[in-house]
């Protein structure tokens, strides 16, 4: 039984009948499948949860995301290389990696890859000093095929995330030598060959299809696994050391894989890579989108961007430095402040410039990321707060409960009666009194109204239109009296940890839902059982059969 999909279908079936069902998504079930099965490959000892009788997911082509492209180019050619914008993949279910597993590339998208590749090579080959970074040899003549082979083998391995095959190498070197002769310039040939590598679908898409292992199960090959690890943890291509490990067959035991993961996690690249996950987990905009959106909000752009950075720093610190679990992240008073942010929040300003780690009052209303202006602004319809959007966000991001968009041909809420003040809670009453709206809004609005003490800019308020705000409510049976208590309620929600695992799995694999649904329950149980450390969860995830195996593409 593919439980996640079944749950989803259940939800939509319910909707067709005019009602949102209650909750969907898995919590941590206590009667999960199976113990720890062995791998089908005797050469691999995997300590992770078993996939039991569940087949792994089918293999799909995964386009490298715009962020992965950016990180990879920076790692290989230098962070100073600039290139025109790429076509952005849609963030499906909030995750670029999920979108990149199914989206097509339009003609303009292909053209953008060409423009980016041209910009990159023209920088990288601009000077002899610069190109020498890529040189594995010094050419002795314009059509020095040996030197071209040496340079391009290295570059090809880096960009294709595996050694070039003999025929690929032959084609590439022939291309380079032909162009070098035409231009009477060895390096022109290399430059054009690099352009070819950067525009090749073999660079732009990850084709990880494994080799037949047992029955329909295929095991990812060494280089494919290296790429999976690296794109997961660094959100970028593997480095030389990881490719070397793959080449030497040192990614075949759980111990080896965990050793590599430890190395990857200790690198600064892991922080950079996980910023993408954190950003997607809490539905923050990409930095370029955020920069554009900043001007739509009635606060300085610097403050808007600082609020976004506050959230990312808080999550990074909590997960990596403090090794907090997700529950603590949602309740913790610890965050990061600049003077500008502190003034906005009305809390004491930190000493010094830039961000400082601070702890907000323990008894405060503002707890965890739900008290961050970044999210409160994002889930508002400026200049008003948007409790429905806020509640939907909490359900979807933290509890993995899908809330569909409203049906067509529903009448809008009545325009607020202006002859007397009215609160948002009163205005939303219509949502819950109208049966067509009530089933879904009963899920979103009470949660969102719990955040009504924070206005559309994320500032604290206890009155709206001169009327007292009532932020009390309940979340799936757990009552709360104010935003701080609501953060606690989410923090102890039984689906929180399981959902966090699911979201990480989506980011890691690009799958909306795994074909092997019990893997999520297994992982969630282990996550809870091992003290809910993200680092431990990552380490566990990469040694599960679900991460190591695949099935033939359909």
């Amino acid at each position: 039984m593919k439980s996640a999909i079944a749950h989803t279908l259940l939800l939509f079936a319910g909707l067709a009948g005019g009602a949102c069902t209650g909750t969907i998504g898995t919590g941590i079930s206590t009667n999960g499948t199976s113990g720890h099965g062995g791998s089908d490959d005797p050469g691999v000892t995997v300590g992770g949860p078993s996939t039991g009788s569940q087949p792994p997911s089918t293999a799909v082509l995964r386009r490298i995301t715009a962020a992965q492209y950016r990180n990879t180019i920076a790692d290989i050619f230098g962070a100073d290389v600039v290139y025109p914008t790429l076509e952005q993949e849609p963030a499906l279910l909030g995750y670029a990696s999920v979108g990149a597993s199914s989206v097509g590339t339009s003609p303009v998208g292909v053209e953008r890859y060409q423009a980016a590749a041209t910009a990159i090579t023209s920088t990288v080959f601009a000077t002899a000093a610069r190109r020498s970074r890529l040189a594995a040899c010094a050419p002795t003549k314009v059509d020095d095929a040996d030197c071209a082979t040496a340079v391009l083998s290295r570059l090809g391995r880096t960009l294709y995330r595996r050694p070039l095959s003999a025929s690929e190498s032959e084609r590439l070197v022939a291309l380079a030598i032909g162009i070098a002769r035409d231009h009477k310039d060895f390096w022109k040939g290399i430059e054009w060959a690099t352009l070819a590598l950067l525009q090749s679908p073999k660079f732009l898409y990850r084709s990880e299809f494994g080799t037949a292992s047992s029955g329909e199960i295929r095991r990812f090959e060494d280089f494919e696994l290296a790429a999976r690890l690296s794109f997961f943890v660094w959100n970028a291509s593997p480095d030389e050391a990881l490719l070397d490990a793959a080449q030497q067959g040192k990614l075949r035991t759980a111990q080896d894989i965990q050793g590599e993961i430890k190395r990857l996690l200790l690198s600064d690249k892991a922080r950079r890579g996980f910023r993408s996950f954190f950003q997607e987990y809490v539905h923050l905009d990409d930095s370029t989108v955020a920069a554009a959106a900043a001007s739509t909000v009635a606060i300085p752009a610097s403050l808007y961007m600082a609020a976004r950075e506050q959230t990312l720093l808080t999550l990074e610190n909590a997960f990596f430095e403090q090794e907090d679990d997700i529950s603590e992240v949602l309740r913790s008073p610890v965050t990061f402040m600049t003077r500008e942010l502190a003034q906005h929040y009305g809390v004491p300003a930190p000493a010094g410039d830039g961000f400082s780690r601070v702890s907000l009052p323990q008894d405060g209303m503002r707890k965890g990321v739900l008290g961050h202006a970044s999210l409160l602004i994002k889930f508002s319809n400026q200049p008003n707060s948007a409790p429905t959007a806020r509640g939907k966000f909490v359900r979807e991001a933290f509890l993995c409960q899908g809330v569909p968009p409203p049906p067509p041909n529903v009448d809008e809420l009545p325009v607020p009666i202006m002859d007397r003040p009215i609160t948002m809670r009163e205005r939303l009453e219509e949502h819950r009194s109208n049966p067509a709206c009530a089933s879904c809004h009963a899920l979103t609005d009470p949660v969102g109204l719990g955040l009504e003490n924070f206005d559309s800019l994320g500032k604290y308020r206890d009155k709206e239109n001169g009327l007292a705000i009532d932020p009390s409510g309940e979340l799936d049976g757990d009552t709360f009296a104010n935003p701080g208590e609501m953060a606690d309620a989410i923090g102890r929600h039984p689906q929180l940890a399981g959902c966090f695992v699911r979201q990480l799995y989506r980011h890691a694999t690009g799958e909306a839902e795994p074909d092997n649904a019990p893997i999520l329950d297994d992982l969630a149980r282990r996550y809870v059982g091992t003290g809910k450390s993200l680092v431990d969860l990552i380490t566990t995830l990469v040694t599960t059969d679900a991460f190591l195996n695949t099935r033939s593409p359909l």
Partner: protein, 473 residues
């Protein structure tokens, strides 16, 4: 008001160069006696097809004229279009079929039904658009230009909460949106940079073919390499990925086509035929736009955004006049767009927020009127661009519509549609054409056929096969 065909300008612009001597008689051969066809081949002046889109609905009672026929009184929301009323017709009484997974479509994807003739599907838990949109179906049927289609936008952001493919108007098959470009300079570079087009008053001869162009040869070898790599992958991937790779290959082929045209004529944009002759009569280099003209970067729908709208329309007109493309979508607001419209309405609110407020809101009406003013500018720019003996607008069939019917209800009934231009394609213009609950999907089908795309049907499920004869003169 309308310019006449200015052959002298063409003469000055292109053929008074020093490297190619061209005599006047050869120039005369460019057009037939009526100016309706390219003389050398007898090919008629091409027809074009496009979609002009706004977002967030209209207030239908102030949009639909009270009278039908030619003598209708322009309703309040269409007021800015009065000066160009001979160039469009208002279509009313049309509904879109309620197809696809209603719960998933929600209240913001009505235009995907209009454009695709099919609803949305899940994949498996996510909203996707299925099928090809009408512009892509038309593009496949029209003779090849150097680009299958172009997709321009004025105000792209900030985007809706979750970026999803159904926010786009054009889809080249399942899961493959044609994303709009909101950056005027990028559009200019993509379409015109490096093209040796005539500059008004400045003779710019095309480069003479001759010798081996080593750069073009290198470009071709790179494309060949990439095609081979794609072919390698096609052998190992599943069905869905084959489709994706073929979409990618389509992009490579388009680059290749342009390269071939460029190699033949020494031009990037492919506006010369292999003999080095300009294929169309009113093609010239547009002004290079300022780098500040990027939609979506301004929080407000301010003067800069209005300038972007105008500049994009000018770039589009020249792309059509130069026969760089024959198909386009032009999006004046992204569906669900939250752009602040304070500078139009005077109230600090997003267009999306305002549209939910309802028709009685005077600020909402102001924005609607401003959007129609953008359409007026668009129409005038196409009208004032020469094309053969007529105007570009006459050979360009445009469907102007919205992502939803009315802001507050987000429904499918009484869907707002205008048909614009296309006089030489036989469209009945200058009227209010009233239907009694007609199937709105027949409008894109009729317009596609008028543009020369012989589609037998449009859409699946409740797809349509019959044109509306009422739309033709």
């Amino acid at each position: 008001m309308k310019n006449i065909l200015n052959r002298r300008r063409v003469l000055r612009g292109i053929f008074q160069g020093t490297t190619i001597a061209v005599s006047l008689p050869r120039l005369e051969m460019m057009l037939n006696n009526n100016g309706t066809a390219w003389a050398q081949t007898g090919t008629p002046v091409p027809r074009r097809f496009g979609v002009w889109a706004k977002a967030n609905g209209v207030h239908i009672n102030d949009w639909v004229p009270k009278q039908t026929g030619k003598a209708y009184t322009i309703p309040p929301q269409l007021a800015p279009l009065a000066p160009v009323r001979d160039h469009f017709s208002v279509l009313s009484g049309l509904d879109l079929p309620d197809i696809g997974q209603q719960a998933l479509r929600g209240h913001c994807g009505q235009h995907t039904i209009l454009m695709n003739g099919v609803g949305m599907a899940t994949s498996p838990t996510t909203i996707w658009v299925t099928g090809k949109s009408i512009d892509q179906l038309v593009a496949e049927k029209l003779p090849a230009a150097s680009r299958k289609s172009i997709h321009l936008g004025t105000s792209g952001g900030p985007p809706p909460e979750v970026e999803s493919p159904f926010h786009w108007w054009s889809h080249n098959g399942k899961d493959s949106p044609n994303v709009c470009n909101y950056n005027c300079r990028e559009v200019f570079d993509m379409l015109f940079k490096g093209a040796k087009l005539p500059q008004p008053g400045t003779p710019t001869p095309p480069a003479a073919p001759g010798g081996i162009d080593v750069t073009a040869k290198a470009k071709q070898s790179v494309l060949d390499y990439c095609k081979q790599d794609a072919d390698d992958l096609l052998k190992i991937v599943g069905t869905a990925d084959k489709r994706r790779l073929n979409q990618h290959l389509e992009g490579i082929f388009e680059i290749e086509q342009r390269l071939k045209a460029a190699t033949a004529a020494g031009m990037e944009a492919g506006v010369l035929d292999p003999n080095g002759q300009v294929k169309v009569s009113n093609c010239s280099m547009p002004v290079e736009p300022s780098i500040a003209l990027i939609g979506g970067t301004s929080g407000d729908y301010n003067a800069n955004v209005r300038l972007i709208n105008k500049t994009m329309a000018q770039l589009l007109a020249m792309a059509l006049a130069c026969d760089i493309t024959r198909v386009f979508t032009f999006e004046t607001m992204q569906p669900g767009c939250r752009t602040n419209v304070k500078s139009i309405s005077g109230r600090d609110d997003s267009y999306h927020g305002l549209s939910h407020g309802g028709p009685d809101d005077v600020n909402y009406v102001k924005v609607q009127v401003a959007m129609m003013d953008e359409l007026r500018i668009f129409i005038e720019i196409l009208r004032d661009t020469n094309d053969g003996a007529g105007s570009l607008l006459d050979s360009t069939v445009v469907l102007a519509s919205d992502c939803t019917n009315e802001g507050p209800s987000h429904g499918l009934t009484d869907f707002p549609m205008l048909m614009v231009g296309g006089k030489s394609a036989g469209l009945r213009l200058g009227e209010h054409i009233r239907f009694n609950r007609g199937n709105g999907l027949r409008v894109p089908l009729t317009l596609a056929r008028a543009a020369g795309a012989g589609l037998s049907r449009f859409g699946t499920d409740s797809g349509v096969t019959e044109s509306f004869s009422e739309l033709m003169s």
